[in-house]
Amino acid sequence: MGKGSNLGEFEQVVMLALARVGETAYGVPVHEEILRTTGRDVAIASVYVTLSRMDAKGLVTSVLETRADAHGRPRRFYALTLAGWEALRRSRAAMNQLWHGVEEPEGLS
C-alpha cells in the first residue's frame, strides 16, 4: 500500500460523517454531522472539494440527482464504496496500532 492512499485527517472526518449520515448524504447533512460531532463549522465547499477528490480516487461514489430544484440547481448524493470502507478501516487500525501502549503523562487533562 502506497503512501498516497493514506487518508488525511479531514478526509477521515468527511468519510466518517458520510458513513454516519447514511443514504441521503449530500453536502448539508454531512456538514451538519461534522458540526454536531466535532463542533467544527467547516465550509460546505470544502466538504464538496474533499468528496470530489475521494470520488476521483474511488473511495466514494456519487450520483447526480436527475431533477433539479426550482432554480435549476442539481444535487449530488454521495456514498462510501467498498474501497472507501477499507481505507477507513485501515486508518482506524493504523491509529489503534499507534495508540497501543501509549501512556499519557499524569496531570495533563
Binding site: 456538514h31 465547499a45 470530489s52 447526480l64 435549476g72
Partner: protein
C-alpha cells in the same frame, strides 16, 4: 421563504460568476438549506452570518480552483437544455448590458450589419429567382429544355433534324416537344398591334400541368393538318387587348390575316415556356421534313418519373452518338449533326451558359460588402474583447469551459446580427418588391414568367445562413482568439493600458487594412460614377425622335435573285414614304460575307503588309434617305433618291475621310472592301457624311468610321426598316404592315422598336444603375468611414493612461498630439500605399477597355488620399485632445 441578507447577495453573485453553473448550483442550494435550518432554529442574524461566512470560505482562491475541477462521473445525466438556456439567457443579458452601455455605437453596428446583410440577401434572392429556383409550375423542377451541346461545351438551340431521334427514342425524358416564336399582327382586339405568338406542340400544356382559366388548352387535334386555326390567350393579353371579356371564348380574331378562334385563356402569371402571351399549335408535321440547318426550334421536355437530369444527359449522349453515325456526312461543308444534347433547367438556359458563373460572381460581390460590414463590426467587438482580454484569460485560467466563454463573447454578435438580419429581411423585401414593380413597368410581357421577385422560404433560409456567417465572422473568431490567449502572458501583461504588444499590433493592422479598402472603394466609386455619367451623356449622333425600326426578312423560295430582293426593298422604301404619316424612310443592312461592323477597307493607292494594318469601318448598305438614320451630308452628295443608285457609289464618314485622305477631298477617291489580297469591286466616294456611334459606345474608337453603299450593291435577304413616323408606335405598325402587304402579303415584318421608347428605357436603366451604384458605394463608404473612425479613435482611447503618464512626466499637449498623429500617419501611409497599387492595377485594366479621361485618375489619386487622411487624422486628433485635456491623475486611472 426567507432570503439571506442583502450583504450576501453580492457574494452569491460572485460565486455564481466564478464557478460553472452546476457547481455553484450545488453549493448555493446546500447553503440555502443550511441557512433556512439556522434561521428556523436560531435567529435570522446568526443565519445570515453563517451564510456570509460560508460564501467567503467558498470564494477562497484555492477552494475555487479545486471546485472548478469538481469530479464529474460518467453516469451523470447530461445537463438539460433548460439549464443551458438559463445560461444563454444570462449571457444574452450580459451582452445586452454591454451594448446598452454605448447606444450610439451599438445602433451604428446594427445599421452597418443590416446594410451588409440586406445587400447580400437581396442579391441572393434576386439571382435565385432568376436562375436556381424551379419553374413555378407543378413539378417545375422536372421541366427541362433540350439543348444542343456544342463541341466547345456551350449549349444552343437544337437543329429540328436532331430533335427527331430524341423524340423517338429517349426514355428518361417524356413529352418532348418543340416551340417557336413568331410575330403576328393581331386584329380584333382593342387596336391592331404586333405580338409574339408561341407556336407550341400541344404536349406543352401537359408538361405545364396548369389548367386554363377559361375554356381549354391546345390539343393534339389542333396540330393536325387541316385543323381549324385556334389560339389560347395569356392572361395579360386578355386583360390589355380584350378588357378581360368573360365571353371571349369562340370569338374570332385575325392573326396576320388568318381568322383564328379563341378557345381558352390561361391564368395570371402563366407564361410557359418563357414569356408567352398567346399560344397556337405548331403543326404536327412542321418540323418533320425540314433540311438540316434550316430550323432551330426550342425544345421542352419533362424528366420521366424516377429519372434524373444526369441520366437524361447520359442517354442523350448515346442517342446522339448513334444518330451521328446514321447521318450522312454533309458533302457541301454544312453542319453535321449535334455532338450531343443536354437537359437544361429553363432558368439556366435563359441566362445562358454563364448562369452559374454569374450567380457566383454577383453573390461574391454582394458578400464582399457583407464582409466589409463584418470586418467593421468585428473590429469594434475585437477592441472590446481586447479590453476584456484579462477578464477572459482569468476565467480560462480558472477553468471555465471555452465554449461558454466563446458563447458569451459572441452574445453581442448574436444580438447585432439577429437584429441586423431582421432589418435586412425588411430591406430585401422592399428591394425585391420594388424590383418586381420596376421590371413589370419596363417590360410588361417581355420577361420570363418566373421572374417574380419577393421574399420566399429560400430567401429567409439564405438570410439565416448569412446571419450565422456574420455571427461567426464578427464574434466567433475574436472570441476564440481571446480564449486561446496564453493565460500566463496576459496576466503578467501589467502595462496598465499602454497597449499590450499583441493588441496593439492587431489594431494597427486593422487600421491599415481599413485605409486600403476605403481608398480602393472611393477610387472605384469615383470612376464608376464618372462612367455612368459617360453612359448617360453618350450622343448617338442622330435625332431619334419618332424613329421606328423594324426588320423585314424575305422568304428564300420567293425571292431568288438579287434583282428581286433589291426591287422589293426599294419599293418598300418608296411605298412607306408615300404614306402621309411617314416623312422619311430608309432600309439598311449590314454587308454579307462577314463584311459587317469593322470590315477591312482598302484605299486606292495604299499598300498593306497585312490585313491587320488595313483601316476598318462599319459598312452599311442603304436605300432611301440617310438622314432618316441620323446621318447628315457634309460634302458631296447623297445617293440619288429617284431611281436605283449606281451600285459602285459610296459615302464615307467624316472621321474616316479625315484619316484616310488628310488635307484633301475624299470625293472621287476609290476604295475596296475586304481583305487587300482579295480582288473586289471598287467603290467611288461620292459624299462625306457625319459620324455616328458604331460598335461599343464606351470604346475608345466609338466615333464611327463608316462606309455606306447602295442597297443594290448587296441585295440582302433581311434588312432593317428605319422610318420616321408622325404618330405613335401603334400607328407606325399599321403603316409598315400596310406597305409590306401592298407589295407581298406573304412577307411579315418583325416587331417594331420605337427609338424614343428604347432610349427612354435605356435612360431609365442607366439612371437605375447609377442609383444602385451610388447607393452601394455610399453604403460601403459609410462602412469604411465608421470603421476607420471607430478603430483609430478607440486605439487612442485605449492609450489614455499612456497619455496621462506622458503628461505627468512633463510632455506638452502639443507634443503628445503630434506624437499620436505621427503614429497614425504611419498606418495611413501603409494603407494608402496598398490602395495605390490596387487602384493602379485596376486603372490599367480599365484603360484597356474604356476611354477614360486621364484627369480622372489624377483627381482620384489626389482627392482620395486627401479625404481619407482627413478622416484618419481627425479620428486621432479628437480623442487625443480629449485625453490630453484630462488631468494626468484622472487619465492614469482611466479604464
Amino acid at each position: 421563504m426567507r432570503r439571506p441578507g442583502l450583504s450576501s447577495r453580492g457574494l452569491e453573485r460572485l460565486v455564481r460568476a466564478m464557478l460553472p453553473g452546476p457547481v455553484s448550483g450545488l453549493i448555493l442550494r446546500d447553503l440555502e438549506e443550511g441557512y433556512r435550518a439556522r434561521a428556523a432554529a436560531a435567529s435570522a442574524d446568526s443565519a445570515n452570518r453563517w451564510y456570509a461566512r460560508q460564501l467567503l470560505l467558498t470564494l477562497s482562491p484555492t477552494r475555487l480552483l479545486a471546485l472548478r475541477r469538481l469530479h464529474r462521473r460518467a453516469g451523470d445525466p447530461v445537463q438539460r437544455p433548460g439549464r443551458a438556456l438559463v445560461h444563454l439567457a444570462g449571457d444574452m443579458r450580459y451582452s445586452l448590458r454591454l451594448l446598452r452601455k454605448s447606444p450610439a455605437m451599438s445602433a451604428l453596428t446594427i445599421v452597418v450589419t443590416a446594410g451588409g446583410l440586406g445587400v447580400s440577401v437581396f442579391t441572393y434572392s434576386m439571382l435565385n429567382t432568376m436562375m436556381l429556383e424551379p419553374l413555378p409550375l407543378p413539378q417545375g423542377d422536372r421541366i427541362v429544355r433540350v439543348m444542343s451541346l456544342e463541341p466547345d461545351g456551350t449549349t444552343s438551340l437544337l437543329d429540328a433534324v436532331d430533335l427527331q431521334p430524341i423524340r423517338d427514342s429517349v426514355r428518361s425524358l417524356e413529352l418532348v416537344g418543340a416551340w417557336e416564336s413568331e410575330h403576328r399582327l393581331l386584329r380584333g382586339g382593342a387596336t391592331p398591334r404586333a405580338i409574339f405568338a408561341e407556336l407550341v406542340d400541344p404536349e406543352m400544356f401537359e408538361v405545364a400541368v396548369t389548367p386554363p382559366l377559361l375554356g381549354r388548352v391546345l390539343l393534339a387535334a389542333d396540330a393536325q393538318p387541316g385543323a381549324e386555326p385556334v389560339a389560347v390567350l395569356g392572361y395579360h393579353l386578355w386583360q390589355s387587348d380584350f378588357g378581360g371579356d368573360a365571353d371571349i371564348l369562340d370569338r374570332v380574331i385575325e392573326l396576320s390575316g388568318v381568322q383564328t378562334r379563341i378557345v381558352g385563356v390561361m391564368p395570371e402569371g402563366f407564361g410557359f415556356p418563357v414569356w408567352a402571351s398567346l399560344w397556337q399549335a405548331l403543326p404536327a408535321d412542321a418540323l418533320r421534313y425540314v433540311a438540316r440547318g434550316k430550323r432551330f426550334p426550342n425544345a421542352f421536355a419533362r424528366l420521366a418519373p424516377g429519372a434524373t437530369a444526369a441520366q437524361a444527359d447520359a442517354e442523350l449522349d448515346l442517342i446522339m452518338q448513334r444518330w451521328r453515325r446514321e447521318q450522312p456526312v454533309p458533302d457541301d461543308g454544312g453542319e453535321p449533326a449535334a455532338v450531343s444534347a443536354r437537359a437544361v433547367a429553363f432558368p439556366v438556359a435563359q441566362m445562358g451558359d454563364e448562369a452559374h458563373f454569374v450567380f457566383v460572381i454577383l453573390n461574391l460581390a454582394a458578400s464582399s460588402i457583407l464582409l466589409l460590414a463584418c470586418i467593421n463590426v468585428g473590429n469594434l467587438l475585437v477592441s472590446r474583447a481586447v479590453e476584456r482580454g484579462r477578464e477572459t484569460t482569468i476565467r480560462v485560467a480558472l477553468g471555465a469551459p471555452r465554449w461558454r466563454l466563446v458563447l458569451q463573447m459572441m452574445g453581442e454578435s448574436v444580438i447585432i446580427a439577429t437584429l441586423g438580419g431582421a432589418i435586412a429581411l425588411w430591406i430585401a423585401d422592399r428591394g425585391l418588391r420594388w424590383l418586381d414593380g420596376f421590371m413589370r413597368s419596363i417590360a410588361p410581357d417581355g420577361r420570363p414568367f418566373w421572374y417574380t421577385w419577393g421574399l420566399d422560404l429560400d430567401t429567409v433560409a439564405a438570410a439565416g445562413a448569412f446571419v450565422i456567417a456574420t455571427i461567426v465572422l464578427t464574434g466567433g473568431i475574436p472570441a476564440w482568439r481571446a480564449t486561446r490567449a496564453d493565460a500566463d502572458a496576459v496576466l503578467r501583461d501589467g502595462t496598465r493600458g499602454a497597449l499590450g504588444a499583441g493588441a496593439g499590433r492587431v489594431t494597427r493592422a486593422l487600421v491599415v487594412v481599413q485605409v486600403a479598402v476605403i481608398a480602393v472603394l472611393m477610387f472605384l466609386g469615383g470612376t464608376s460614377a464618372y462612367l455612368t455619367q459617360v453612359i448617360a451623356d453618350i450622343d448617338f449622333g442622330m435625332d431619334t425622335e419618332g424613329v421606328m425600326v423594324s426588320t423585314v426578312g424575305l422568304p428564300d423560295d420567293r425571292y431568288l435573285t438579287d434583282e428581286a430582293r433589291t426591287a422589293f426593298f426599294e419599293r418598300l422604301q418608296r411605298e412607306l414614304e408615300q404614306q402621309a404619316s411617314v416623312p422619311a424612310a430608309a432600309l439598311r443592312a449590314g454587308l454579307a460575307d462577314g463584311i459587317g461592323h469593322g470590315s477591312e477597307v482598302v484605299i486606292e493607292g495604299q499598300r498593306y503588309e497585312s490585313s491587320l494594318l488595313q483601316p476598318r469601318a462599319a459598312v452599311t448598305a442603304i436605300a432611301g434617305s440617310l438622314e432618316t438614320v441620323g446621318v447628315r451630308l457634309v460634302s458631296g452628295r447623297l445617293f440619288a433618291l429617284d431611281g436605283p443608285e449606281d451600285g459602285s457609289s459610296a459615302l464615307v464618314s467624316e472621321t474616316l475621310a479625315r484619316e484616310q485622305w488628310p488635307g484633301q477631298s475624299a470625293i472621287g477617291q476609290r476604295l475596296r472592301l475586304g481583305d487587300a489580297a482579295r480582288e473586289s469591286e471598287w467603290y467611288t466616294v461620292v459624299g462625306v457624311v457625319s459620324d455616328v456611334v458604331v460598335g461599343n459606345p464606351f470604346s475608345r474608337d466609338r466615333h464611327g468610321r463608316s462606309i455606306y453603299v447602295p442597297l443594290a450593291a448587296v441585295a440582302p435577304r433581311t434588312a432593317s426598316v428605319v422610318f420616321r413616323h408622325a404618330g405613335d408606335s401603334r400607328a407606325a405598325v399599321l403603316s409598315l404592315h400596310a406597305a409590306v402587304e401592298d407589295i407581298d402579303a406573304a412577307v411579315m415584318p418583325g416587331r417594331i422598336v420605337d427609338f424614343d421608347e428604347m432610349f427612354q428605357a435605356m435612360g431609365r436603366m442607366t439612371a437605375l444603375a447609377t442609383r444602385v451604384l451610388a447607393a452601394c458605394f455610399g453604403f460601403a463608404m459609410v462602412l469604411a468611414v465608421t470603421g476607420i473612425y471607430g478603430l483609430t479613435s478607440r486605439s487612442v482611447v485605449q492609450r489614455t493612461q499612456e497619455i496621462g503618464i506622458r503628461r505627468a512626466l512633463g510632455a506638452t499637449e502639443g507634443r503628445v498630439v503630434r506624437l499620436f498623429l505621427r503614429h497614425g500617419g504611419r498606418q495611413l501611409v501603409q494603407g494608402l500605399g496598398i490602395a495605390l497599387v490596387v487602384a493602379a492595377l485596376a486603372s490599367i485594366a480599365a484603360a484597356q477597355l474604356l476611354d477614360m479621361n486621364p484627369m480622372i485618375y489624377v483627381v482620384a489619386a489626389v482627392a482620395v488620399p486627401a479625404i481619407i487622411s482627413a478622416i484618419v487624422l481627425l479620428a486621432i486628433y479628437i480623442p487625443t485632445r480629449r485625453a490630453v485635456h484630462l488631468e494626468p491623475s484622472v487619465a492614469l486611472w482611466h479604464e
